[in-house]
């Protein structure tokens, strides 16, 4: 992982980690054979098969890096202690070339070497059979993603299931995501049908098991244009093939979301049970009809910074209105109700939580993201009242909650109520809660007040040169267990178009990857990009990303941030759910707390064993 260890000049590589010990993977034989595979899989316009030395001067990238200020010498805007790390241009994270982890050649023995070669040949032969030249993933040369990314594709919510996987357009998708089982069976592909991709997925599985056979785990493959990230979770293998230049860490985080969304529909326990009984089970049988939910998730991951920040965005609302909504939810309760969530325009209005449950564990932003995506991705909720089992993977990956979902303003369907109970028989009682909520909201005219609520414009901050920002406060002792939130204004001109929005998000992703780099985490980055200047700053109290017009000076930017922080402080009652209210609905504490007996029982009842 250490940047400094990367061998210059190796164009292709595989990153492997050895989880139990830090013992080194077999040396270059493995790396080389896998880079050969890499080339097979992702044919490059430039034939470089077998060559391990390539000039890695990427003009776009290096100009980008040199534009970056090596240090910020201005005083920090507050008295917070700020540790500033200078960056040197040689170690830009955006360099596309990453090599294999350096191996200690001394530990390698001849027998292992032979083994590697044998299986290497086997896989190469397999690849030839699979005719991957035709089905592989390749993209014509592109310059820096920071300048260009996102221009090809705007997030649309159309299905790409029927795409021709041999077409160039298929290869040019910015980010592919595949899910397969350990037996190599395709489960999901973001673009194109899984059947048509079965040989490609077979190769992916071959890569995984090849590395596994030497007690190792494949983590990523880097080529000039693509980053391939692998994630193994139980019997599932998730693969992301991305030309977005996001960090491996970010891409793996996105794969985690995909995994969690699958878990939220099936639970981890039933997935493991199914594959324990039948290794080559076709999980698509169980995911049929849910592809849209995964498609929607991936589109959202690309277009909504909530996922990147692992924080929830709530709709700005006068605190009096938010409080009154919370009180309405707080009063409409029934035994075993655990969460009451009110959503408008796919953003959180308020959330009320069961006291004992939330003492036990906190609701993770990722679980809220999955719920929001489920509701946003399917129009199924717009008809009738929905009662469905759903698992919150970070809360408890093995158990189901029962979710009551209903829009409160048909036929517009913008305000949605979500009530989660641990009791599967509670439909009528929970539906009754909705009637109470509906009635109370009608009395208080809440719906029309909610309809007026909207995101804010950055101009309200009153700082010229400031174009956009994302501010995520961290937990402070008095609101520990509070849902992690962030606030961000509307993306306005010059980021009005989908392409420009995506470009700004890519810049933020880049800043985020620098801040959160595992090898060289940074506290503050002042980054002069071609068309804007960005400043990212993380302290013990918050994480902040700001975007300024290109002509801003460093001193100006620092003053602007001081003003911005002051503005946020002043507005925080409106921008955040400050004190998430609670209620108490547990007649019997074991019934609704995490891992309680009845929950476990539920998960057994609802397992999928009966299907086998």
């Amino acid at each position: 992982m250490e940047r400094a260890n990367h061998q210059e000049g190796e164009a292709q590589g595989v990153r492997i980690c050895d989880p139990p010990s830090e013992s080194n993977p077999p040396a270059d034989t493995l790396a080389t054979s896998l880079s050969l595979l890499g080339n097979h899989m992702f044919p490059d316009p430039v034939e470089r098969l077998g060559s391990t030395t390539v000039s890695r001067d990427d003009p776009a990238n290096s100009s980008d890096v040199t534009a970056e200020e090596p240090s910020v010498d201005a005083e920090p805007p507050s008295n917070q202690l700020m540790k500033l790390e200078t960056e040197d241009t040689e170690t830009s994270e955006s360099q596309p070339v990453v090599s294999a982890q350096p191996a200690d050649r001394g530990t390698e023995d001849a027998a292992a070497d032979n083994d590697q070669n044998d299986s290497g040949e086997f896989v190469v032969a397999m690849l030839a059979k699979a005719k991957l030249e035709e089905q592989g993933i390749g993209v014509k040369g592109r310059s820096s993603p920071l300048l260009e990314a996102g221009t090809q594709e705007s997030p649309t919510f159309t299905s790409h299931r029927d795409e021709d996987v041999t077409a160039d357009s298929w290869r040019q998708h910015r980010k592919h995501v595949f899910v397969l089982s350990e037996a190599g069976k395709p489960i999901y592909s973001r673009y194109g049908s899984e059947e048509a991709l079965s040989s490609t997925m077979g190769v992916m599985m071959a890569l995984v098991s090849f590395v596994q056979s030497s007690d190792n785990i494949i983590r990523s493959v880097y080529s000039e244009e693509h980053t391939v990230v692998f994630l193994q979770k139980g019997p599932l293998v998730l693969v992301c093939v991305s030309s977005s230049r996001q960090s491996e860490q970010q891409l793996r985080g996105e794969l985690m979301y995909v995994y969690y969304q699958i878990i939220s529909m099936l639970t981890q326990a039933s997935i493991s049970r199914i594959f324990e009984h039948k290794k080559n089970y076709d999980l698509r049988r169980l995911l049929a009809g849910s592809e849209k939910i995964l498609d929607g998730l991936l589109n959202l991951v690309d277009s909504d910074p909530s996922f990147l920040l692992a924080a929830v965005h709530c709709l700005p609302l006068a605190s009096s209105l938010r409080d009154s909504l919370s009180q309405i939810l707080q009063k409409a309760i029934t035994p075993n109700l655990v969460f009451s969530i009110l959503i408008a325009k796919n953003q959180l209005l308020t959330i009320v939580q069961e006291k004992t449950v939330i003492e036990d564990t906190r609701l993770e932003p990722a679980d809220v993201h999955l719920l929001l995506n489920l509701i946003g991705a399917s129009s199924a909720f717009q008809a009738g009242e929905i009662w469905t089992p759903i698992c919150l993977p970070l809360f408890n990956p093995d158990c189901y909650f029962y979710a009551y979902i209903s829009y409160l303003d048909p036929p517009d369907c913008t305000v949605c109520l979500l009530l989660l109970s641990t009791d599967k028989e509670a439909f009528y009682a929970v539906a009754e809660c909705k009637r109470k909520i509906e009635e109370a909201m009608e009395t208080q005219n809440s719906l029309s007040l909610i309809a007026k609520a909207q995101s804010y414009s950055v101009s309200q901050v009153g700082v010229s040169d400031l174009r956009h920002f994302m501010y995520k406060p961290f937990d402070v002792p008095d609101n520990y267990r509070q849902l992690t939130q962030f606030t961000s204004p509307e993306m306005e001109a010059p980021y009005g178009s989908e392409e420009e929005k995506m470009r700004l998000l890519d810049l933020y992703r880049y800043m985020h990857s620098r801040i959160h780099s595992t090898s060289r985490p940074l506290k503050l980055i002042y980054h002069v990009a071609e068309r804007e200047t960005l400043l990212a700053w993380v302290t013990s109290k918050f994480e902040l990303y700001t975007c300024f017009s290109p002509l801003v000076t460093k001193a100006c930017a620092i003053t602007a941030i001081t003003k911005l922080l002051r503005w946020i402080k002043k507005e925080e009652d409106r921008l955040f759910i400050r004190y998430p209210p609670k209620y108490s609905t547990t007649p019997n504490p074991s019934k609704s707390s995490r891992g309680g007996k009845s929950d476990q029982q539920d998960s057994t009842d609802n397992g999928f064993l009966s299907l086998l």
Partner: protein
């Protein structure tokens, strides 16, 4: 006007004029994914057609049906056809007074699947407590028909089911089906002691807002 499937407004005035006993009828729709269960359910409850996304879990609708001597409040449980929900489907159809086994006349495998559902149902079935209908939906796709009307009818006769072909798209035979179900339920279950429970108006509003009490404030929000 005897019996009817009222539209919203009509229903209010009718019922206000003559408050008859309202009985709850639980009805479940079962069948493969994509045969039109949700479309039928939306036809039943709102008399609209909209193409729907695959149902998540189960969708719940209500619909009032007036017969001459009784009003039924149909509580319609529209189950998801996707396999991942099969293990929990009994939760939704358990105790149903009416079950519709829906198949798509243009897809033979859905007809076969409906018979599998029937077997499943028969395990829990208590004679006389449930009326089961075999419903061939998408009758508008007559040109692509793979299951003949006769075939459906003879399966129904064989297994003691009621049978009808409908089109949720055109609305053809949908309200007829609902009325027929209401009659059958009335005949088969309504007579029995404790067969159907009475529907009580929620009294909550009454307590909190005595001045604003509207006995039909609730049902007009969930159904017509």
């Amino acid at each position: 006007m005897g019996e009817s499937l009222p539209s919203g407004a009509q229903h209010h005035s009718d019922a206000l004029r003559k408050p008859v006993k309202t009985l709850r009828v639980k009805m479940a729709l079962l069948g493969s994914s994509g045969v039109g269960k949700s479309s039928l359910a939306i036809r039943f409850s709102k008399d609209q057609f909209s193409s729907t996304s695959p149902t998540v879990g189960c969708a719940y609708f209500t619909r009032m049906v007036h017969l001459s001597d009784v009003t039924f409040r149909f509580e319609i449980w529209d189950t998801a056809g996707q396999e991942k929900y099969h293990s929990i489907t009994p939760l939704y159809y358990r105790g149903a007074h009416a079950v519709l086994l829906v198949y798509d006349i243009s897809k033979r495998e859905t007809f076969v699947r409906a018979q599998v559902w029937l077997k499943e149902l028969e395990k829990q079935y208590i004679a006389g407590s449930t009326v089961i209908w075999l419903v061939g939906n998408k009758a508008d796709l007559d040109t692509d028909r793979q299951v003949s009307t006769r075939e459906g009818q003879s399966l129904a006769n064989e297994r003691g089911l009621f049978f009808m072909e409908t089109s949720a798209l055109s609305g053809d035979q949908v309200s007829e089906l609902l009325l027929a179900i209401a009659h059958r339920v009335n005949e088969c279950i309504g007579e029995q002691q404790g067969g159907l429970s009475e529907w009580q108006e929620p009294t909550l509003v009454d307590l909190r807002h005595p001045g604003r009490f509207n006995p039909f404030g609730y049902c007009c929000k969930v159904g017509p």
